[in-house]
């Protein structure tokens, strides 16, 4: 059975649903941009993106002891404002530790790419892969290798999955994270081979055996990490040592048709056997189904019952397999999923609990939080870090998931995404909404760049509603605010009460808001008694709307 395409109407509710699931938050400008396009046009644009982004740069410095921040005193080989990703660290620099500065820089940079994302699927897709092919910076603390890891996710986010698995298997951050660098013929380490089968490709319970895990570990022996070459430091790099490779034959179980991977003692043996292992694993349909289930859970809904398995997962997995040689295999699969009938089914709209990253980055992007410009490098990196840490506070640390399986809300049956919201998290999210909407973001007093010090960034709610179709009308203002903030429709009773209690100062007539908005929009320094109150009224309205349960859904 082929995957049923969506043929229903593609109006504002459908566009909003599509954008909520593919971007971090939907801003009024995003809606305006896609307005009037067909579903396929929108999906084409979401799936057309450059994977090339500038790498993280040195925006860090340390106190010189006299209260002045000096970048020349840390990570000396790298010039301020240029990238560190290809420059070996000086092993003599121990304190202050350039590795920590680079790692923070890496996380800030990644967060920044999400904060200022373009109108396409790239950043969501990178997050999906990060949750699927996990490394944790708290375990694999190798900033240059972590950058390379992220680059694989980014470069191949809509690419070919087998190629991605090949590159990921021998990525130095992954080699470190799952002990691949310790896996050799004298002491096989099963950590990576187990997760390769259990979490990355086949899925637990798909039929492989404990012995298969052990055999795969033997196949993967010999790959390790080099940190110097000829006595000189290099950035952590993958290296293959023939003499550490297990050259015996590897016998797999009946699940893999009793495949034997022949031991290869040649210098190319590691590559050849890795390819043979991936070929053997990718022959199993379980791989396509496993990845398609992961995609479905991330982008559509956590609930996969027998009907969804037959009607959606199997046909999607067929598309995945039919395009297994295509360099844009994942793009083809995502195109099918995002234009499928199931994706737009009312059952799955507005029923997914936002992850803390969706919640935080979505709020910042939707409401138009201003950020520092390129001339304020330190301020940029520090505010990006703040956003990342706010989401981490609510339970989702970018670059550092809790374990190799990723965040439990994406795999923990049967709660899945409802796990993001328990009593503890509800309280945290209220606080986050207060911080982002009321307190805003600030930069440190002591910076290297004078133009980055003591800055304050706040959301301008008047500017936000000014982008609405007719902000003068309190009725349509509430309609549009509700449409943007909630994926489920609000009843007229609730809308009327919001209007009365916030926009009309508790009065009955629309004129109170209209007078205030007319005065404020003409002159933000107006002395009109209603006009003066516009910013605080809008802040209260949005803070309150964000406390609704519906706000946590998308």
């Amino acid at each position: 059975m082929p995957l049923t395409p969506y043929t229903g109407p593609f109006g504002r509710p459908e566009l909003l649903h599509l954008l909520r699931r593919t971007l971090f938050g939907v801003a009024p400008a995003d809606l305006a941009h896609f307005n009037g396009m067909t579903l396929q046009q929108v999906v084409d644009e979401l799936l057309t993106y450059s994977t090339v982004v500038p790498p993280p740069v040195k925006a860090y410095s340390v106190d010189d002891g006299n209260g002045n921040m000096d970048p020349a005193l840390i990570d000396v080989p790298v010039t301020y404002g240029t990238t560190w990703v290809n420059t070996p660290r000086d092993p003599n620099e121990v304190f202050p530790d350039p590795a920590t500065s680079r790692m923070i820089s890496f996380v800030e940079w990644w967060s920044g790419l999400m904060v200022q994302q373009d109108r396409n699927l790239r950043e969501k897709m990178v997050l999906f892969w990060h949750n699927t092919l996990v490394t944790q910076i708290s375990v694999a603390f190798l900033p240059e290798a972590n950058y390379q890891y992220c680059k694989i996710l980014r470069d191949q986010s809509k690419g070919n999955f087998r190629q991605m698995m090949y590159d990921m298997t021998i990525n130095p951050a992954m080699l470190y994270y799952l002990n691949g660098y310790l896996n050799n013929s004298f002491a096989p380490d099963e950590n990576y081979s187990r997760e390769l089968m259990e979490l990355f490709t086949l899925g637990e319970g798909s039929g492989y055996s404990e012995a298969d895990v052990q055999q795969a570990a033997r196949v993967l022996t010999g790959w390790t990490i080099a940190v110097e070459q000829g006595g000189n430091p290099i950035v952590p790099s993958t290296i293959y040592y023939n003499f550490l490779h297990d050259t015996g034959n590897k016998q797999f179980s009946a699940f893999f048709n009793n495949t034997v991977i022949t031991g290869d003692a040649s210098p190319n043996g590691g590559v050849a056997e890795l390819n043979a292992l991936l070929d053997m694993i990718f022959l199993q349909e379980a791989v396509s189904k496993h990845i398609c289930r992961e995609l479905y859970r991330f982008f559509v809904h956590s609930d996969i019952d027998a009907i969804i398995e037959t009607d959606v997962i199997e046909p999607l997995a067929q598309i995945f397999r039919d395009n297994s040689a295509d360099p844009e295999q994942i793009r083809i699969v995502m195109n099918a999923l995002l234009t499928s009938d199931r994706f737009f089914s009312t059952e799955v709209r507005g029923c997914m609990v936002k992850s803390p990253i969706d919640y935080t980055y979505g709020m910042v992007r939707q409401l138009g939080m201003p950020f520092p410009t390129g001339g304020q490098l330190e301020a940029q990196y520090s505010t990006w870090f703040d956003v990342r840490n706010i989401a981490a506070y609510a339970g989702q640390s970018l670059a550092d998931p809790p374990n190799v399986a990723g965040w439990p809300a994406y795999y923990q049956f049967p709660q899945y995404d409802t796990m993001w919201m328990d009593a503890a998290n509800y309280a945290l999210r209220k606080l986050i909404s207060d911080i982002i909407c009321y307190v805003g973001l600030t930069t440190p007093a002591n910076t290297y760049e004078p133009q980055s010090a003591n800055l304050s960034f706040k959301i301008d709610f008047a500017a936000f509603v000014a982008q609405f179709q007719n902000p003068l009308d309190p009725n349509t203002l509430i309609d549009e605010a509700a449409e943007l903030l909630f994926a489920t429709p609000l009843s007229q009773v609730v809308k009327d009460q919001l209007k009365t209690n916030f926009l009309l100062f508790g009065q009955a007539s629309d004129i109170y808001w209209m007078q205030g908005w007319a005065a404020y929009s003409a002159d933000p320094n107006t002395t009109d008694p209603y006009g003066m109150l516009v910013p605080v009224i809008l802040l209260s309205l949005f803070l309150d709307m964000q406390s609704a349960a519906e706000y946590h859904l998308h």
Binding site: N179, L182, N184, F186, A187, D189, E190, N191, R194, E198, E204, E210, S302, D303, I304, D305, A306, E309, G350, C351, M352, V353, G395, N403, V404, Q412, F413, P414, Q415, Y416, T418, M419, M421, D422, A423, A424, N425, Y426, A427, L428, R429, K430, L431, T488, L490, S491, V493, V494, Q497, L498, N501, L543, D544, M545, S547, A548, A549, E550, H552, L553
Partner: protein, 393 residues
């Protein structure tokens, strides 16, 4: 997989039925079954049982762990054959006071060596082949208690063990902040009147209602903590100090849940493991002394577990890989048989993976605690498990 749909439908039905009254309902109903409480300490990552309760004289042990075996002079002796890891000096002194019972060889049939799956099994008290949707303390909460805060996890998120189908425990790390963040906003009152046909929205409103109610109760009851010596500045120290403050404030919570992670010692295990165990032992000593001084020790039982033990044979990275059975610790004033409750599983009779075979099913330990300590009916909470006799009471 149909179970999840049913689960959500049911929670939607339940929550719409009691949504509004729950905002108003006073929390803190009377506790069933006396005032005893349980404190669960989860050691995440798979604690190496053999280097925790050390059989230092056993040939298989010394031969399997060339660089990791702890000799007699590096163990805190319990008997002529068995000692505790030197990190557990705090626990050793509690042991000397007769406040510790060590149950060895705890596990389950067909052990799973995945952290996540094995934790699931421990959390849900399922069989290895069975997938349950609720945790054992979550089911206890539903069967025996009336308010979410009767099971309380100290930490940012709620563990599966503490989730029931209709009722979930609460998780919190900072009471003041927890309370401040849950003042009822205008919108929540409004929206609670609206019809919630959507099951997830209904779930969220139910969570909100429970949050308000529990936050208000805890805030009202909580006294300012007095400084107590001995706790570490680490996460576990903070968590146990918080639990002690809750207990001393007279909260009617029946089970507390705390945790320490980092036990996945695949490489360079020796010092790391000792450091982790020191954190455990020192903080438990401080906690027990704290409760003793407050007269709360006899009504408190601490249960320490990990999702699995580690392989008998060490690996080449001076660490150990995922194994099977391991020891559990029970600590408190109400133990019937303090000391080594049973002997270690035979080191000469390992399973096909070279791991210890279990001799006590962890579900029996749960059932015993539920029946003999919590006064609950284990049949509904851990079906099929057989309680152990002569353990606690």
């Amino acid at each position: 997989m149909t179970t999840r749909r049913r689960f959500l439908q049911q929670s939607a039905l339940v929550s719409t039925a009691w949504l509004l009254p729950s905002f108003l309902k006073a929390a803190g109903a009377k506790l069933p079954g006396g005032q005893r409480r349980l404190v669960v300490l989860q050691l995440s990552g798979g604690n190496d049982g053999l280097n925790t309760v050390v059989p230092f004289r056993h040939d298989v042990y010394t031969a399997s762990r060339r660089s990791l075996a702890l000799p007699k002079d590096r163990a805190l002796l319990l008997t002529d054959d068995v000692g505790l890891n030197t990190g557990l000096v705090g626990l050793r002194s509690l042991y000397a006071e007769g406040l510790v019972s060590i149950v060895q060889g705890v596990g389950y049939p067909d052990p799973d060596r995945s952290h996540f799956r094995s934790l699931d099994i421990w959390h849900t008290a399922s069989a290895s082949s069975e997938y349950l949707e609720t945790g054992w303390l979550g089911r206890y909460l539903e069967n025996e208690c009336t308010a979410p805060h009767h099971v309380l996890e100290v930490g940012p998120t709620l563990t599966l063990a503490n989730k029931g189908e209709r009722l979930k425990a609460i998780a919190l790390s900072d009471v003041g902040h927890f309370y401040r963040s849950t003042r009822e906003p205008f919108f929540a009152q409004l929206a609670a009147h609206a019809e919630h046909q959507h099951k997830t929205a209904a779930y969220l409103y139910k969570t909100m209602a429970e949050t308000y109610q529990s936050a208000a109760y805890v805030k009202e009851k909580l006294k300012l903590p007095e400084p107590v010596a001995g706790y570490g500045k680490d996460e576990l120290g903070k968590q146990l100090r918080t639990v002690s403050n809750f207990i001393k404030s007279g909260l009617d919570t029946r089970a507390y849940y705390v945790g320490l992670s980092g036990f996945d010692t695949h490489s360079n295990q020796l010092q790391r493991h000792e450091r982790l165990l020191r954190t455990v032992g020192d903080n438990l000593l401080a906690f027990v002394n704290d409760l003793k001084a407050a007269g709360e020790l006899d009504s408190t039982l601490v249960m320490v577990f990990s999702e699995f033990g580690r392989r008998v044979k060490q690996n080449a990275s001076n660490g150990t890989d995922h194994g099977a059975a391991g020891p559990m610790f029970l600590i408190g004033g109400g133990l019937k048989k303090p000391g080594l409750f049973n002997s270690m599983p035979a080191l000469g009779d390992l399973d096909a993976n070279g791991d210890l075979k279990f001799s006590v099913d962890f579900r029996s330990v749960y059932a015993t605690i539920l029946r003999d300590w919590m006064g609950a009916d284990p049949a509904e909470i851990v079906p099929g498990a057989i309680a152990v006799e002569g353990f606690i009471g």
